[in-house]
């Protein structure tokens, strides 16, 4: 199968083109060895199948971040048959910077000149023919959101795949640089390097001081040529300036030359709808309250639609199904233990988790709208002022917002932070952001004690998580990671109408991974815990006399000061360290014997009080994140120490908060 790779700047509409090419025929995974998301799909065109690989969105193909490395290694080493470079027509100069780097790689590349409609709206006129000639590669205008030009893009890609020759790099770096490139290249030619990178490109990168390539050569057998490279660099630097800056400058010179010939922009920039919306949403005083209001509405709607409307439908369905299956098994004379396992363990446990699928879907639906419409970047902008005053970087807030979905991508989103200090802090505080998996826990307790104020309670919990994260961030920036200044730079993409398809795909992505976890990790945890809860043989199932009950009873005293020192609650929290979804599943199972029907909620009403419900919810909000998150922190910090530190300090923070709430509440006579 031939491979087509997609590259482009963030916000260039790359994902929309990817969706248009592959439809639902796509899957998301990870690049081997790193945690960068890998998206792949299959395109069928004229009965031929093509593999489409969506590379991470980057501004450049340097060696700054894993994203950039993944993209450039894929192009140079995996050698796709053609690269589609998605270029935002409204911002052509900057987008073409990436294109120049692709040209340098000597790969077969075609440009998808996207968002032509928006360019038109801004009165930007582009002569596609001239642009293509200037760059020396094919250019296809597209409007991905309306599927305009996609067919043409596919045809052009296939035509390019079948061409024998790749394109010529037309960028001129000036006599001084080109001489040195030639010298270094000859030097490389004379050696037998063990690399798949083309030598001309290697020479350019060496002069550009690319840290990764330097490292690679240094570790190789031919490290002595680095001395000669440094000589070249010094030689140029002595007469002009650092070669790396000259090279970047020359790329822009090339771009300016090409754009001058082919693009006409109006003298006065058109005031767009985006500008007018921004006047309000990024307003000095209004920005923050509006942001808070939007989030409150999102949580309230999520609750009403996801829980009250659909969630209860699923819950009712599960209940009926559970009873039917149990009846069927009893009629078939199935062993009693099996019936108990299926009805208590599976339907009581895993089923309790499934009830929250609609809610998670609705939640991601809204987060998808916020992301795709371009509002997320504004939220980071609006929050930067507050974040600054706490000694944190504005982008930290984006990683926190992503963490609302799941802390794993939240922690990965900290990669956009350039300074190590900012990044470490952002990673360490991310677990306090309440993820989607913790949602079911609150919902059960809200249904039991605060059914009338669900949205508000939920919103307060999320806000509390954010506040604790910010507080810890401030403490960390004052103690553990002092010094180091960092800079804030971020693109604010224009507002766009999100497409239903894009949001649904995004939503399906998350929900399917949730379902997968429900089917694997949570199923396993529930099974093991269920077995432990009926052993030793002969003991009353799900009682404190079972092995599980004894383990729980052993831990329980720790939680006594927080008001929920029962073995059931302890076991639930214990399961939550494996996966947060397992908390409700476990509670569902250990309480399942208590009542029939909506047993869990009634059992919780008996076992907890409003006050202990709050302290338990706060505990689950803050305490040790799940194993996947700890693993991600371990990988991203490349240190076991920080992973263990996170697991322990979050537990401590959660415990202290829960104890304080219970003790202070009791002091004021609450129960």
């Amino acid at each position: 199968m031939k491979t087509i790779a997609l590259v482009g700047n963030p916000n260039s509409g790359k994902t929309t083109i990817f969706n248009a090419l592959t439809g639902a025929n796509q899957h998301v995974g990870n690049w081997p060895g790193v945690t960068v998301e890998k998206k792949e799909g299959v395109l069928t065109f004229q009965k031929e199948k093509y593999r489409i690989v969506d590379l991470p969105g980057t501004y450049s193909l340097g060696a700054y971040s894993e994203d950039e490395m993944v993209a450039r290694d894929f192009i140079l080493i995996d050698q796709p048959d053609v690269v589609i470079n998605v270029v935002d027509a409204t911002n052509i100069e900057r987008n073409l910077y990436l294109t120049t780097q692709l040209l340098e790689m000597g790969t077969k590349v075609i440009v998808a000149l996207n968002m032509m409609d928006e360019a038109e709206g801004k009165k930007i006129r582009i002569d596609v023919e001239k642009l293509s000639k200037g760059l020396g590669i094919p250019v296809v205008p597209t409007i991905a959101s309306k599927k305009n030009g996609i067919e043409k893009l596919i045809e052009k890609s296939i035509e390019t795949i079948n061409k024998k020759q790749s394109f010529q790099n037309k960028i001129r770096y000036g006599k001084e640089i080109e001489e040195q490139i030639e010298i270094v290249k000859e030097l490389l030619d004379s050696l037998s390097l063990n690399t798949k990178y083309p030598y001309e490109w290697l020479a350019l990168k060496l002069l550009e001081n690319d840290s990764y390539i330097h490292e690679m050569i240094r570790n190789g057998a031919e490290s002595k040529i680095l001395g000669r490279v440094q000589e070249s660099i010094d030689q140029v630097a002595a007469t002009m300036m650092e070669p790396e800056l000259i090279i970047v400058d020359k790329r822009y010179e090339f771009i300016r030359h090409v754009v001058k010939e082919s693009v006409k922009k109006p003298n006065e920039e058109v005031v767009t709808k985006s500008d007018r919306i921004d006047k309000i949403l990024t307003h000095k005083w209004l920005g923050l309250p509006i942001f808070a209001l939007i989030m409150l509405i999102v949580y309230q709607l999520t609750f009403t639609i996801g829980q009250d409307l659909f969630g209860e439908m699923v819950a009712g369905g599960m209940e009926v199904l559970g009873e039917k299956v149990a009846l069927l098994l009893i009629n078939a004379n199935a062993p009693e233990l099996l019936v108990a396992f299926i009805s208590d363990g599976l339907f009581g446990g895993v089923g309790a988790v499934l009830e929250f699928v609609p809610l998670i879907m609705v939640m991601y639906f809204f987060i998808g709208i916020l992301e795709d419409s371009g509002y997320m970047a504004r939220a980071a902008y609006v929050m930067d002022r507050i974040m600054r005053s706490l000694g944190l970087h504005g982008k930290t807030f984006i990683s926190m917002l992503v963490g609302v979905g799941c802390n794993v991508p939240g922690i990965m989103a900290t990669r956009t932070l350039d300074s190590k200090k900012d990044r470490m802090i952002a990673m360490l505080i991310n677990p306090f952001i309440s993820c989607g998996a913790r949602l079911p826990i609150y919902l059960v307790f809200i249904a039991a004690f605060f059914p009338k104020h669900g949205g508000l309670v939920l919103f307060s919990l999320y806000v509390f998580g954010f506040l604790i994260a910010l507080l810890m961030g401030k403490i960390f920036s004052k103690t553990l990671f002092k010094g180091e200044t960092s800079y804030f730079i971020m693109e604010l993409p224009p507002y766009r109408m999100p497409t239903i398809k894009g949001i649904l795909l995004h939503m399906w992505d998350k929900v399917s991974s949730f379902l997968k976890r429900a089917g694997t990790v949570i199923f396993t945890v529930v099974t093991i815990l269920w077995v432990l809860s009926v052993l030793p043989y002969g003991v009353e199932p799900h009682s404190s006399a079972s092995i599980l009950g004894r383990i729980g009873s052993f831990i329980a005293p720790i939680f006594k000061p927080a008001g929920f020192g029962t073995w059931q609650a302890s076991v639930g929290l214990f399961a939550g360290i494996v996966a947060k979804e397992a908390v409700v599943a476990t509670l569902g199972m250990v309480y399942a014997g208590v009542e029939e029907g909506p047993g869990l909620i009634m059992a919780i009403q008996e076992a907890f009080t409003p006050l202990t419900a709050v302290s338990f919810m706060v505990m689950t909000l803050l305490y040790t994140p799940c194993a996947a998150v700890i693993g991600t922190i371990r990988r991203e910090t490349n240190s076991r120490k920080w992973a263990i530190f996170t697991a322990l300090y979050t537990f401590l923070v959660g415990w202290i908060a829960a104890v304080l709430i219970f003790q202070v509440g009791r002091f004021f006579g609450l129960s």
Partner: protein, 74 residues
């Protein structure tokens, strides 16, 4: 006259003259399209990061960074 971008008022236009600071900042800004000679218009400059219009797209820059970008008034 050359002054830092930070002191531009809303609506004011200018051309990037030099960028102070290390090569890392230099390159990052270059990649975002903020290189010597590029035209910049300040859209917002109040309390938070400065918002500029750069080749038709909007970029938010921290105030510290905006002080390091030396502009000539256009």
């Amino acid at each position: 006259m050359n002054i830092p971008l930070l002191f531009f008022t809303e609506g004011e236009k200018g051309i990037v003259n030099t960028i102070m600071g290390g090569q890392k900042i230099h390159k990052r800004l270059f990649e975002m399209g903020l290189n010597t000679g590029s035209e910049v218009q300040v859209i917002k400059n109040d309390a938070g990061p400065i918002i500029i219009s750069l080749g038709g797209c909007k970029v938010a820059l921290g105030r510290g960074l905006a002080q390091k970008i030396i502009m000539s008034r256009g």
